[in-house]
């Protein structure tokens, strides 16, 4: 089904950047990787022309930078004899954040179609277009992805944290998130006193 959908997108929206991402799992739920610039147009095309009217699930996925090892065989001539030399080359794959949408069609009773969008990196360029104007159901879920992964959804009507509190700085679902030693810690006015005590103990010895 996904290849037919892809063909329809290519014929309906020529020039839109959409490619197929293969899923090796036995369920073969392949997905469509959509360029951020074309995402709104593709989403509207899917909703209006192909009747994928139900955006069921929106989830974030974090892919930190990783090293991929590749074994390469190259031929070299040493002392006039051609030899095959096996080498493993390591190259870096930059990290990115991903927003995954699972779409169903209530009208045609089919699905799912999996849409993916990727950010440029994980620090500065973490913006993706919001699909909430297309499917209202993405509203809270995009807020949750923003909260837990830190993807900024441009065009979202009310992009605030959903589950964590507003002053919270981190994004806990990221793979490199370090949980705090003390989950119950809260800064108190007494902290300054404790700091002074520690400093004095360091210079004058314990119990001073």
């Amino acid at each position: 089904m996904i290849t037919a959908v892809l063909e329809k997108i290519h014929s309906g929206l020529p020039g839109a950047h959409v490619e197929l991402v293969n899923n090796p799992s036995p369920c073969a739920q392949h997905s469509l990787l959509v360029g951020a610039a074309d995402a709104r147009a593709v989403a509207e095309f899917l909703r209006d022309d192909l009747q994928f009217d139900f955006a069921s699930n929106v989830s974030g996925v974090d892919w930190p930078p990783r090293k991929v090892k590749e074994s390469v065989v190259r031929k070299e001539t040493v002392d006039g004899v051609e030899k095959e030399i096996k080498e493993t080359i390591e190259h870096d794959v930059p990290g990115y954040l991903e927003a995954v949408y699972h779409l169903y069609s209530v009208a045609r009773k089919c699905g799912p179609i999996t849409l993916r969008m990727r950010t440029v990196d994980r620090d500065k360029n973490v913006s993706l277009p919001s699909l909430t104007p297309v499917w209202k159901s993405a509203d809270f879920q995009e807020r949750e992805v923003f909260d837990l992964y830190g993807i900024r959804f441009d065009g979202h009507p009310d992009l605030r944290r959903l589950l964590m509190w507003d002053e919270y700085a981190d994004h806990p679902m990221r793979k490199d998130f370090v949980p705090p030693d003390d989950f119950e810690y809260e800064p108190t006015p007494h902290d300054n006193v404790l700091k002074r005590v520690k400093a004095r103990e360091a210079t004058e010895g314990e119990g001073a």
Partner: protein
């Protein structure tokens, strides 16, 4: 029990009143809070505030083995633990391509539909409590729910935290006499529904509080991601048991009830009618229960490593579409474990439903959407 905290008017506008409703309010079904702006008694703005029960379920599951997430799913929608298990099992079975044992499929349908019955019974009690019929209706409902929980206890050892499903089957077989007990419950349940209906359906107060309150059109319900009874109450013919036919649901004959206008009354009555259809499924499943193993002998539980890939599996839970999106990187832990919570997503349109209604109706609207905070906040 006065938990309505009245804030000063933030806008300085003397005509409106900002009200922080919850989180410790008896009718918010847990720790749910709404910031409501009122003009007189009419709601002009409503912003839900989440996270009071947030423990980052998904992160915890990603730090444990695939199987270790199974008992933890019980804690999502703690009214219906078995359907939570089922949804997770369906997702992982899709991911790894595991076949489910025939007998286990029947047992899954039986316990799943019993879960639906007890959820809808509890729902009737809760909503009537929200309407001011405090106590009696809930006790009537819980009397019935208790009989089903007793069945769960004799089957799984736990009344609510059942931890019953496994990838490829179920954890344990039915104890002796269990089927007779289930048959008895199924036979007696219509009497409870009849009694509830006789007491309620024609009740003038109930009709006045429910009919015409917060109607939801089919188009808005679909766009807003509503699922389950709320979606069908708006007249949409969409039940995942029919559409996906997961498990063995395509072997049973049952109808999908639908509402007409999608108001609170439709959402309320739909649960009653849906319970009657669940009883039909139960009768067929109990009659057709085959023998054999309760788990696929090839399924591996300890040291389970599904192949690299991803899958989205979903079921029709009593609250709506409960889905799990799992990504495997080939190790013994899920790389990504995402829950599609029907309780949270069914609240997307809460503000839209409540605008222009009276503050007393907000509780009923919230009640007829049927949420559980363990699943909303995760």
């Amino acid at each position: 029990m006065s938990t309505l905290a009245i804030n000063s008017t933030s806008s300085g506008d003397a005509r409106t009143l900002d009200l922080s409703l919850g989180p410790q309010h008896p009718s918010t079904h847990g720790v749910f809070r709404m910031n409501v702006t009122l003009e007189g008694e009419t709601v002009v703005k409503l912003k839900p505030v989440f996270g009071y029960l947030h423990r980052n379920h998904e992160k915890i599951a990603e730090g444990n083995s695939w199987l270790a997430a199974m008992p933890y799913t019980d804690r999502l929608d703690y009214i219906c633990p078995i359907t939570n298990n089922w949804a997770y099992a369906v997702a992982v079975e899709k991911l790894a391509g595991i076949e489910v044992a025939e007998r286990a499929e029947y047992i899954r349908v039986i316990v799943g539909e019993l879960t639906r019955l007890q959820n809808h019974a509890a729902f009737l009690g809760f909503v009537l409590g929200d309407m001011g019929a405090w106590g009696s209706a809930l006790m009537y409902a819980f009397r019935e729910r208790e009989k089903i929980l007793d069945l769960f206890e004799s089957l799984t050892g736990a009344r609510m935290m059942c931890n019953y499903m496994r990838f490829g089957g179920c954890r344990c077989d039915l104890p002796p006499g269990w089927i007779e007990g289930a048959t008895k419950v199924v036979d007696k349940f219509p009497a409870f529904l009849d009694e509830m209906e006789a007491l309620l359906t024609g009740n003038e107060i109930l009709l006045a509080r429910l009919q015409g309150v917060a109607p939801l059109s089919a188009a808005r319900a679909i766009n807003g991601g509503m699922s389950g009874p709320v979606l069908r109450a708006s007249g949409v013919d969409y039940d995942i048991r029919k559409v996906d036919g997961y498990g063995i649901y395509n072997r049973f004959k049952f109808r999908i009830p639908r509402g007409e206008v999608g108001d609170c009354y439709d959402r309320f009555m739909l649960r009653v009618i849906e319970s009657r259809e669940s009883l039909q499924i139960l009768k067929q499943a109990i009659a057709g229960l085959p023998g054999g193993p309760i788990i696929n002998p090839k399924a591996k539980l300890r040291g389970f490593r599904p192949p690299v890939g991803e899958a989205y599996g979903r079921i029709e839970s009593p609250k709506g579409e409960l889905g799990f999106y799992v990504i495997s990187d080939g190790t013994d832990k899920p790389y990504r474990f995402r829950i599609r919570p029907p309780s949270l997503i069914n609240l997307t349109l809460l503000e839209e439903l409540c605008l222009g209604t009276k503050i007393a109706d907000v509780m009923i609207i919230l009640g007829t959407v049927d949420i559980v905070l363990g699943e909303v906040d995760r």
